[in-house]
Subunit: 222 residues, 2 copies
DNA sequence: AATAAATTTTAGCAAAGTCTTAAAAAAGAC
DNA sequence: GTCTTTTTTAAGACTTTGCTAAAATTTATT
């Protein structure tokens, strides 16, 4: 059964929405993600339902079938592997790779993905710290917290971002906050929920509430 | 101006046909290459002509405009660069890469191509020995002959194939005739135009007319 | 040059894929 | 239980690409 690029993108959107919300993806949520009208979404979910890629009941939203989930995670796998390639081998920065990977993820060749994975050394996380599912669709889970959840004195390493916008990623670049950077929470200011941190054990920096709520940290024993 | 994948493939076909024949690509030739009806081709060439990607006059065939040629050579550049990547880095064999490269060549990102080129070490030829045009669309020209053109006693190296079919490529693999292999013509048999050669200075092998007419050789001073 | 054969174009139509607006129906909020 | 929001239906449109059959044109043959 042929699946178009658009259909694939719908599946990915439904996957992400229903995962984030912990419940079926609503028509409105999908239409927002896909930047299209609610009516178009209803059309599409009917088609995806007929192809048995999603479970769909009128007014109840959509969840992926086993088959649909397999396709969606495989897309995410491809997307993230290509991002690793683009950053590690072609020296793109982490804010430039999304659009290109968005195209590359639609290349159809089972062999290609597995060989790419091997070539890259079977990475478990992409350049933004997001987990790369394995060929069976299993994600590596990592215990991580937002910087905003760390108490004074706690230390950890930057392992990912919640906000994937170019603006945020470029901001982090300017702050030299790349994946793996060590961070120690020196002081928390209740007034504006900003936080003073020590970066790489070298320099002190004040980070805003917004930044601290979008940076994933893996705690370290001190 | 948006150009669809199909349109891009037509441009490539027109490029190859008019280059090979040294004159405009006829409707029939295009329809054969694209595996579609002549009527569909007429439809498409009209559209390409309106977009000023080809010169087209009724009953006269099609040639590429400067713009069309730029797009076509760029597609060929992308195709061949990806083939190099697939063979050199992902360890595909030369008969497996065409279909995948056929997809990859449609990825749109000027930066990607240039970085890929650099990553691969600016290769001038693809795994089948075909020249890779540079960013300006210039092909490296190489003085090469068909094995069938070599006289007894002449030596050279395998530098390319004319026939790109899987069958031929796999046949060459079995004969251990890869790019760069040295070949000496020992004897030519007029009867069936077969030729006895010495491969890599080691083993003797009889090659058929068909094989010798599809293998490009670069002559060597003996 | 006239005729036959081959090629190419035109005309008309079709199907997939995706989207839209406007109105109706259902669900959720107060 | 009414009001608001969400979702669906209905009807259709548009693009892209393709097809067949018949007409027009070019090329080849006698």
């Amino acid at each position: 059964m042929e699946i178009s690029h658009t259909e694939e993108n719908y599946l990915k959107a439904i996957f992400k929405i229903s995962e984030r919300k912990g419940k079926p993806a609503s028509t409105n949520a999908i239409s927002k993600a896909m930047e299209t009208s609610a009516a178009s979404v209803t059309d599409m979910v009917k088609r995806l339902s007929e192809k048995e890629l999603i479970h769909y009941e009128r007014y109840r939203g959509a969840t992926l079938t086993e088959n649909g989930a397999r396709i969606a995670t495989h897309l995410i796998r491809k997307h993230r592997l290509w991002e690793v390639f683009l950053v590690n081998n072609l020296h793109f920065s982490w804010d430039e790779v999304h659009e290109i990977a968005e195209q590359l993820e639609h290349i159809k060749s089972p062999q290609l993905v597995e060989r790419l994975d091997e070539f890259l050394g079977n990475p478990k996380f992409d350049p933004h710290g997001d987990p790369i599912p394995d060929a069976d669709g299993n994600f590596t889970f990592r215990k991580q917290a937002l910087l905003s959840d760390l108490g004074e004195g706690e230390t950890g390493a930057v392992v990912g971002v919640q906000d994937h916008t170019t603006a945020f990623l470029q901001y982090l670049d300017r702050m030299q906050l790349v994946l793996g950077t060590r961070i120690e929470v020196l002081e928390r200011f209740e007034y504006d929920e900003s936080v003073k941190v020590k970066i790489s054990g070298e320099r002190e920096q004040l980070l805003s509430k917004k930044v601290s709520q979008n940076l994933f940290i893996q705690r370290e024993a001190v």
